[in-house]
């Protein structure tokens, strides 16, 4: 009897898949190339429908390098958290704001899906632009001497003002849903900090890769890889000692229509993309990835 029930279920699923393939392709956008607008540390081309409000909690525990003594970072003091709200005023455009514990960042961001991938492949990929501007809100004593020197200017004592605290991140993402179970995206980014330490660069160009392997209607394995590129022509330093290391995260996503829950292990302790591209010194080879999770909640009005 059990075998009979099982074979009926298998047959039903098989028929369902074959029927689904018979559906005529239209020029409508493909359904859910990713489950949510966030892919661990990256964005995706997914933007909810117009007049949707999204609340996001992103949390990373401390590094796992102390092992069981601090339960792989869960009891460690080096945790980071970001709380954010996104709103979609018109289809394919999202604006948002957030606050992050590390460096007391406050950020505003915008995402525009310029082209959506269509079912009939008249547009084979989704093209997305994403930008973040953040303010480092720490007390002046956190910036060492607090004295500032412009590349060509004179030293200005205690001059950490609003504009010095600003940092920017802009990114172009190209993604494609290859099948119901596999989506991939690649991107290029530019990061700029208005003020950095003596041995850092102001500008960083990065390359990005991310993907999703869906193994059940609600669950997927997700990953992202962010590589800051060592470009001598834009570097202001003679060595790469302080240059950020690549960020690699892999995790599990459980998503429903209005929620996404992602739990992962990743290298960067920062949550804002510009912080990762500028300051991430953790990687998997020196054994200090951290456990993190992301929760999103959508409200449609």
């Amino acid at each position: 009897m059990k075998k009979y029930i099982l074979s009926v279920i298998v047959l039903a699923i098989a028929c369902n898949i074959s029927f689904a393939q018979d559906e005529e392709a239209t020029s409508d956008p493909v359904y859910a190339p990713f489950e949510s607008g966030i892919l661990i540390d990256q964005q995706t081309g997914v933007i909810p429908d117009a007049r949707t409000l999204e609340f996001i909690i992103q949390h990373k525990f401390g590094a796992m390098d102390n092992g069981i003594s601090d339960l792989w970072g869960i009891y460690s003091p080096g945790a980071n958290v970001r709380l954010a709200l996104n709103y979609v005023p018109v289809n394919n455009l999202q604006i948002g704001a957030g606050i992050t514990k590390k460096n007391m960042y406050s950020d505003v961001n915008a995402k525009w899906t310029v082209f959506e991938q269509t079912e009939d492949n008249s547009m084979p990929v989704a093209v997305t632009l994403y930008g973040v501007a953040a303010v480092d809100g720490r007390n002046e004593s956190a910036f060492g001497t607090g004295d500032i020197v412009d590349t060509k200017g004179e030293t200005l004592p205690h001059s950490v003002n609003f504009s010095e605290r600003l940092s920017y991140f802009s990114q172009l993402l190209i993604g494609r849903k290859f099948s119901n179970w596999f989506s991939l995206q690649a991107g290029a980014s530019f990061t700029h900090y208005n003020m950095v330490g003596w041995d850092y660069n102001h500008d960083v160009v990065g390359a990005h890769l991310g993907g999703r392997i869906k193994f059940s209607p609600q669950s997927s394995i997700i990953f992202n890889y962010d590589q800051p590129l060592k470009i001598q022509d834009i570097s202001e330093q003679t060595d790469w000692d302080t240059f950020a290391k690549a960020n690699f995260s892999v995790g599990l996503e459980i998503a429903t229509f209005t929620h996404a829950f992602q739990i992962y292990a990743g290298s960067a302790d920062g949550i804002l993309p510009q912080d990762m591209m500028m300051y991430n010194q953790n990687n998997w080879s020196n054994g200090v990835p951290a456990i993190g999770f992301t929760i999103t909640r959508l409200w449609m009005f």
Binding site: V90, T145, D150
Partner: protein, 126 residues
């Protein structure tokens, strides 16, 4: 569509007012801990503020994670347990938050040198 236009208008105006700067933070002077002519480092005036400015006391406070680095208790909780006068560079208060370590809070090079100088000079309560 109108909303989209308004958004881009606001974005363009915002970009005009924001500016890209190329400022560096002038580094602190790093003292040489082996220099015998250097003046005595004051614990209350120079070492204690490091723990406060770095926000070590967010975790290392009274009743929380040891050592207690709040200003009234810092000296008695790190001397002698976390300070090794015979081998200053082996002192835990110096090695744990080293600039290249993985402790959540790290000294800058200048702060590390100042602390090492204070220990080399005998870790006085001055």
């Amino acid at each position: 569509m109108k909303t989209l236009k308004t958004f881009f208008a606001v974005a363009v105006v915002a970009l005009l007012f924001s500016q890209c700067k190329y400022d560096f933070i002038v580094p602190e002077e790093v003292i040489d801990p082996t220099d015998p002519t250097i003046e005595d480092v004051s614990f209350t005036a120079e070492i204690e503020p490091i723990f406060t400015n770095l926000d070590c006391i967010a975790c290392h406070s009274t009743g929380a994670t040891s050592p207690d680095l709040t200003s009234q208790n810092a000296y008695s909780s790190i001397v002698p347990g976390y300070v090794n006068i015979d081998n200053p560079e082996g002192s835990e208060i110096y090695t744990k938050p080293s600039p290249t370590g993985s402790h959540p809070k790290k000294y800058s090079d200048a702060q590390a040198a100042l602390l090492l100088t204070w220990i080399t000079q005998g870790a006085q309560d001055n």
